[in-house]
């Protein structure tokens, strides 16, 4: 998705672009030979025409040599880094795997450093590059929405909007449970298709069970235009996902629509974008804390609108727009 958008935005500005997508296996014992494979590719020219710039996005694309390479770093191969030794990693604790892990870190460091510049898509990644690779990134270049144009400010409605696929990691469950504790006359609107139909049904059953079905609206999948209208007229937005790298496109959609965003302290990327009390709230990851946060905003409509406007301001101060991205990646 980030690659498609980048290609489109570069083209729009008159660059000749070609995307190269190399298929990769993520099996730990095949990682090194793939890095060697990428190292063998020559993208300095094509059929006699010089290629002026190489922009690398994903691991291990930065292994491809180029005199004018820029990394827009979106994540490490995490099972060899921060997820190593956690339940999420697939690398065994064997001497062989450990050696491969060390070689990945070593080659990443070497090849990332070859680039003219390395930007990341979040502060968390700047920190990880510093910690694991001793690389000082050239800054954060946040990832904008592919197309922000449908999103605009509207009226302040009577619902909190949560746009995300219905799936466990997005924790719609906490949002639904929070509605048990709310007393005021606002609703929760869930926009997005379920990853699996049964999960959508589970969430409905949960709303029934807690007797909040009348306060929770399941909208399902909607087109971009409808989503923009629903966002424009929300009271505020939620993004309560669990430990994500990114801040979620729907947080940006909310800010583009001048809406405050409520998130949880363990949601990951949103914590970098949201400043508590300025453009949204960062809350303890419990249904009750979320309910209290929603009530607090509802009680002070004026302040909430103010926070929404600050959200729009955040997009500007953090340079979350394609002009800035293209400027950094092509200078």
């Amino acid at each position: 998705m980030i690659v498609d958008s980048l290609e489109e935005q570069l083209r729009k500005r008159g660059f000749e672009v070609e995307t190269v997508r190399i298929p990769l296996s993520s099996r730990w014992f095949e990682l090194l030979e793939q890095t060697v494979a990428l190292r063998c590719l020559d993208l300095t020219e094509s059929s006699g025409q010089r290629i002026d710039r190489l922009i690398t996005i994903r691991y291990p694309a930065y292994a491809i040599p180029h005199p004018n390479k820029i990394n827009w770093f979106i994540h490490h191969h995490r099972t060899a880094y921060d997820l190593y030794g956690t339940e999420y990693h697939d690398m065994p604790n064997s001497p062989e795997a450990l050696k491969i892990r060390q070689m990945i870190i070593h080659s990443d460091t070497l090849y990332l450093k070859e680039a003219k510049k390395t930007y990341t898509i979040s502060e968390v990644l700047v920190e990880r590059l510093r910690k694991f690779n001793h690389i000082e990134a050239d800054g954060v270049v946040y990832q904008p929405l592919p197309d922000a144009s449908p999103f605009h400010e509207g009226a302040s409605g009577n619902y909190f909007l949560y746009t995300a696929r219905l799936t466990p990691v997005k924790r719609q469950t906490i949002a639904i449970e929070a509605m048990r504790y709310t007393r005021s006359d606002f609703k929760l609107m869930l926009v997005g298709p379920p990853d699996a139909e049964w999960y959508g049904n589970d969430l409905r059953a949960l709303a029934e069970k807690h007797g909040v079905a009348h306060k929770v609206q399941f909208v399902g999948w909607v087109d971009e235009h409808t989503k923009a209208e629903l966002t424009a007229n929300a009271f505020a937005a939620l993004y309560v996902s669990y430990q994500e790298d990114g801040y979620g496109y729907s947080s940006l959609e909310a800010f583009h629509s001048s809406k405050a965003v409520l998130t949880l302290s363990d949601s990951g990327g949103t914590n970098e974008l949201i400043e508590h009390g300025f453009n949204g709230l960062i809350l303890e990851p419990t249904a009750r804390a979320l309910a209290d946060g929603m009530e607090a905003l509802w009680a002070d409509k004026k302040r909430t609108i103010e926070m929404g406007k600050n959200g729009l301001q955040t997009l500007k101060t953090r340079h979350i727009n394609w002009d800035y991205v293209i400027e950094r990646l092509t200078e």
Partner: protein, 346 residues
């Protein structure tokens, strides 16, 4: 079925291989398969770069997407290992085979260059044999595999024309039509020179963009030198629909390249029920033409071409029936997607 179509990628360049890969993707998706196009960059100079790209292909894996079938089209991507790999070979790396010893060789004729050639041939001998099935796009390509690698293919699958429906049969106009990129190896110059020897009242229409301005100017100068401005028309680049319209009203079609592996012009002419004139050394195109049945196979000289065009012009009825025979060739050679897919997916 989950199918990966595997092609080489020359960044910023689009040619016949890309058209073929796209059409194959379209057909697979239309038939309800999940198809994904995977392209691996390729650069062939300096010569040692070829080996690095070959090694890269050998080291990469296609198992992550768990495809049921991989269809590889070109060197060096067919080196990628996969248990159920089929090859529909457009062509090998010709510089180290039939083009070795010609001006197109590229790889230097030094001990180092020869070593690189031998490695490529050796690798081909292994990688091409690994495939579950090996098809080529023409008999020409199959013959080369036999000659240089001693490999017998499982068959020839002629690539059908994408969007053949726009090529319709129509009236017999008063011109021979030659649509193709204007480039030296397509020998538009011979077609122009042939018009010097033509007595009858038909014309020559060339369509296509020059590969470089110099060759376009050279052809224009040739027309002027022989005073053929009223006999030869150069249309420049035209759209596919315009090409189809010109094809429909042509009297006959010319396709005169030097040793090509395949040419869509042949199929376009056949779909438009037109006989095709080719040269003896045109390569795969002369596989399609049977002299005197669905077209003519001539010596590559202006005089022979002029005489051939005159022969057709003198007998309109016979030319019409050759056009019908040309159309029938499509069926005789199984040039249809159902046939291609049946073999690639079986």
């Amino acid at each position: 079925m989950k199918v990966i179509v595997l092609n080489a990628q020359l960044p910023f360049v689009r040619g016949g291989a890309e058209v073929l890969a796209d059409s194959l993707m379209e057909q697979l998706i239309e038939q309800g398969h999940q198809a994904e196009l995977v392209r691996i960059p390729f650069k062939w100079y300096p010569a040692e770069t070829i080996l690095k790209h070959l090694l890269a292909c050998r080291l990469l894996k296609l198992n992550a997407a768990e495809p049921d079938l991989v269809i590889a089209l070109k060197f060096p991507v067919y080196a990628m290992p996969f248990p159920n790999k089929k090859i529909w070979l457009l062509h090998q790396f010709r510089q180290v085979y039939d083009l070795w010893g010609t001006p197109y060789q590229d790889v230097p004729d030094t001990p180092e260059g020869q070593r690189i050639r031998d490695i490529i041939v050796h690798a081909d001998n292994i990688h091409l044999r690994e495939a579950r099935a090996l098809y080529t796009i023409s008999k020409n390509v199959a013959d080369r595999l036999k000659k240089y690698n001693d490999i017998t293919v499982d068959g020839v699958l002629y690539p059908p024309l994408p969007h053949s429906e726009i090529f319709q049969t129509g009236e017999q106009g008063n011109y021979f039509f030659y649509p193709s990129r204007l480039t030296r190896s397509k020998r538009q110059s011979i077609a122009i020179e042939a018009m010097r020897f033509v007595k009858s009242n038909f014309k020559l229409v060339l369509a296509g963009k020059p590969d470089n301005d110099a060759y376009g100017a050279e052809l224009q100068a040739l027309i002027a030198r022989y005073g053929l401005q009223n006999r030869v028309k150069m249309l420049g680049w035209i759209s596919d629909q315009e090409k189809a319209d010109w094809m429909t009203k042509a009297y006959g079609v010319l396709f005169l390249p030097f040793d090509e592996d395949y040419g869509y012009v042949t199929l376009e002419a056949f779909h438009a029920h037109k006989p095709l004139i080719v040269f003896k050394d045109s390569g795969a195109t002369d596989e399609m033409v049977t002299h005197g049945v669905n077209g003519l196979i001539l010596d590559p000289t202006p005089e022979a071409l002029a005489e051939g065009m005159e022969t057709l012009w003198a007998n309109k009825k016979r030319t019409l029936s050759m056009g019908e025979a040309a159309y029938a060739t499509l069926d005789e050679r199984n040039i249809r997607w159902s046939y291609v897919l049946e073999h690639l997916l079986s």
